[in-house]
């Protein structure tokens, strides 16, 4: 009889784990050591600058020199300008609440409960309307704040949300028009989408801000912010339309044929069968597109809007804090990072979830 031997232990010792992951071959070992040294050096410099040698409060402002660490006092002094831009000081609580409303709208629409072709639009339109009412004011004792004065993070979020609310339906329209069986319409929209996609966003926004008023009669021009948001939305829609089109193409042809055979009307076929699947299949790309859009909002600074990037520039654009630009840029990068990283993590989570077949 041979004694039964227990199976080899599934647990690896720390040493084994390290060997497998860091020192599998000689070149792995070299890479690992070089990288580890670099990481430690980088971290050391970073922590020294950002925390250990940093100056935190305005009282110590005179210690802010080139040799010292980060001068976070600038954020204490100019932080509100960065976050709120030109929005009137006393009314900034409105801007804060409005921001929170849109952020929770974004958060809510990430929950699968809201993923239906009826609920999502209602949620977004509601969130967006509350935002605009709060920011604009002019009722219930809240003074009117015109859109020229909107600024900072809430303007960034407004542009983002506006682009999404207007751009999504447009994207659906573009996608459907491009795969229409009427050749003229399909070709024209295809041409239009391709043109828009090959232009830099900046040129489109610039045109919307300064050229459109020359081309359109005054009655339908709208204000500058409106024009820029619509132009941005068209740009977004051109990209998103291609994503949706890919989603539509990925649904089996048989489903469409079955619906037609059952005598389903066109709009019902689109909104009940094709679109929900198209959206579901392309959610990761849509999230990716949202991430790109959020980052691209920083471009409106070039045409004179005080979104968070421009406000940051204005914060360092006066005599007092002119030399603390690195700190302000780092602060801005962190703001973007929080939003964008959150969105992209969510996208990654969705991807795994769908790969597992939950969706």
């Amino acid at each position: 009889m041979i004694e039964a031997v227990p199976p080899p232990s599934a647990r690896m010792s720390t040493l084994n784990w390290a060997r497998k992951n860091f020192f599998a071959t000689w070149y792995d070992a070299v890479f690992s050591i070089i990288l580890a040294v670099l990481i430690i050096m980088g971290l050391n410099a970073l922590i020294g600058w950002a925390f250990l040698d940093a100056i935190w409060s305005v009282e110590n402002k005179d210690q802010c020199t080139y040799d010292a660490g980060a001068c976070w006092a600038v954020i204490e002094s100019r932080g509100r300008l960065i976050l709120f831009g030109l929005y009137p000081y006393e009314e900034q609580w409105r801007s804060t609440i409005a921001c929170l409303v849109v952020i929770s709208t974004i958060a809510l629409s990430c929950l699968p409960v809201f993923w239906s072709i009826r609920r999502i639009p209602i949620l977004w339109i509601a969130g967006f309307t509350i935002f605009v009412l709060l920011m604009r004011g002019g009722f219930a004792g809240m003074p009117l704040v015109s859109s020229d004065q909107w600024g900072g993070l809430s303007l960034t979020i407004f542009i983002f949300a506006g682009v999404f609310v207007i751009g999504m339906p447009l994207a659906v329209l573009f996608a459907l028009a491009r795969r229409s069986n009427l050749p003229v319409i399909a070709k024209s929209f295809g041409f239009f989408i391709d043109i828009v996609r090959s232009l830099p966003l900046l040129t489109i926004l610039f045109a919307a801000a300064v050229i459109v008023p020359l081309l359109l009669p005054e009655a339908i021009q709208g204000n500058k912010l409106m024009r820029v948001v619509i132009a941005f939305a068209i740009f977004f829609a051109a990209y998103q339309a291609e994503i949706i089109r890919a989603g539509l193409q990925s649904t089996p042809k048989g489903q469409e044929e079955a619906a037609v055979a059952l005598g389903m009307p066109y709009w019902s076929l689109i909104s009940d069968i094709l679109l929900p699947q198209a959206f579901r299949n392309t959610l990761p790309s849509t999230i990716n597109q949202a991430v790109i859009t959020f980052k691209e909002t920083s471009i409106v600074t070039i045409i004179g809007f005080f979104e968070v990037m421009a406000s940051g520039n204005a914060a360092i654009g006066n005599g007092e804090w002119g030399n603390q630009y690195v700190e302000v840029y780092v602060f801005l990068a962190l703001i973007y990072f929080i939003f964008v990283f959150g969105l992209s993590r969510y996208g990654a989570w969705l991807e795994t979830r769908m790969r597992l077949g939950h969706a």
């Binding site: 030109l86 000081y89 801000a209 300064v210 050229i211 360092i316 654009g317 006066n318 005599g319």
Partner: protein
């Protein structure tokens, strides 16, 4: 068939543009501003030191901003009606052409192309901007010639690009130009040593120097590259508005000449020391209506922003952190180039 549709479309288009065109022609911009109850003025995208900056509360301040407030006060009675629209350098002309803004008050040099080809007109200069070169003290340059071969940084899209090119060509100095769209980047690059010198508008250079980590590292050279008169810009054909702008500037200068300040303007209005001061402050009726304004418009302006000297001191002069000397922007009687028009 297609032909028919085309001609139909054409007819409809003509009607459409006809209607909108008629709307625009009806009244002058001054009346539109009064009717609208707000004046759309230029701000900046970011800040232009001393002339248009944003304070920690998000409120605009600076020399140009004060003039905007003065104009709003003259037309609408209160500075709160000035709506400052953030706008980049490149956008100012398209924006005024399209009617997004009513006036450009953004240290805009009076050049022939702008005056004739863009459909714009200039007010009398409200500021005289000399162009200088600022370099690093360690280079020990005495004049621009000593900077032969150096890197000169300038603001892109402004008149200085051409002025510098001209000056260097005339004097046979070779150099390497580098232009930046935004003042912030320009300053940062200069402080860091990317450029040997910045060429620019005097006040901008002083402000840049004051802001430097160590102001003594930099010095402004004596050579004046060129003198640029800065005017307030309105669209061609808006003569009523241009009149108001010209007389607003003049009123500020006249107030300074006659010692009328924000503090004593009430007293001066009650007992005008001369007939012309009485006319200026609206004690004599009929002065404002010539411009289509209230009689006490100039009184309101001085009460709100003070006279020219007070504005200067508060924003870029002695009373500010930039401490810019008056220089050419003083009254003629004090050795400057500015003078009021005759108020009769």
């Amino acid at each position: 068939m297609i032909k028919k549709i085309k001609s139909l479309a054409f007819a409809a288009a003509v009607t459409l543009s006809g209607i909108t065109g008629a709307q625009a022609e009806g009244q002058g911009l001054l009346d539109t501003i009064i009717e609208r109850g707000s004046l759309n003025c230029t701000g900046h995208n970011g800040s232009y030191l001393g002339f248009a900056e944003v304070d920690a509360n998000g409120a605009w301040q600076g020399f140009d901003i004060e003039f905007c407030k003065a104009l709003a006060t003259a037309i609408l009675g209160t500075p709160d009606k000035a709506n400052i629209v953030p706008i980049s350098w490149a956008q100012r002309f398209p924006a005024i052409q399209s009617g997004d803004i009513d006036v450009i008050i953004k240290v805009t040099g009076w050049t022939m192309t702008r005056d004739t080809e863009l459909g714009l007109q200039y007010s009398r200069p409200y500021f005289i901007g000399p162009f200088y070169v600022m370099s690093k003290t360690e280079l020990e340059a005495k004049s621009v010639k000593d900077l032969e071969g150096g890197v000169f940084c300038v603001n892109a899209g402004t008149t200085i690009e051409r002025v510098l090119t001209d000056y260097m060509e005339t004097n046979g100095i070779s150099y390497e130009p580098l232009s930046f769209e935004k003042g912030e980047e320009l300053r940062a690059a200069f402080y860091a040593g990317r450029c040997d010198a910045i060429a620019g508008f005097g006040p901008f250079l002083s402000a840049t120097r004051v802001n430097a980590p160590n102001p003594d590292d930099f010095e402004i050279l004596g050579d004046v590259l060129k003198l640029e008169p800065e005017g307030i810009v309105v669209r061609q054909g808006e003569d009523d508005l241009l009149d108001v702008v010209n007389w607003m500037v003049s009123a500020l200068l006249m107030a300074e000449e006659n010692g009328i300040t924000q503090a004593n303007v009430d007293e001066m209005k009650a007992n005008p020391p001369s007939a012309s001061i009485g006319r200026l402050l609206g004690a004599t009726p009929g002065v404002g209506s010539r411009l289509g304004l209230q009689d006490d418009w100039a009184y309101n302006v001085i009460k709100t922003v003070g006279n020219y000297g007070e504005i200067y001191s508060r924003t870029i002069g002695e009373g500010s952190r930039y401490k810019l000397p008056r220089g050419l922007n003083n009254l003629w009687s004090n050795g400057g180039l500015l003078y009021p028009l005759v108020l009769d």
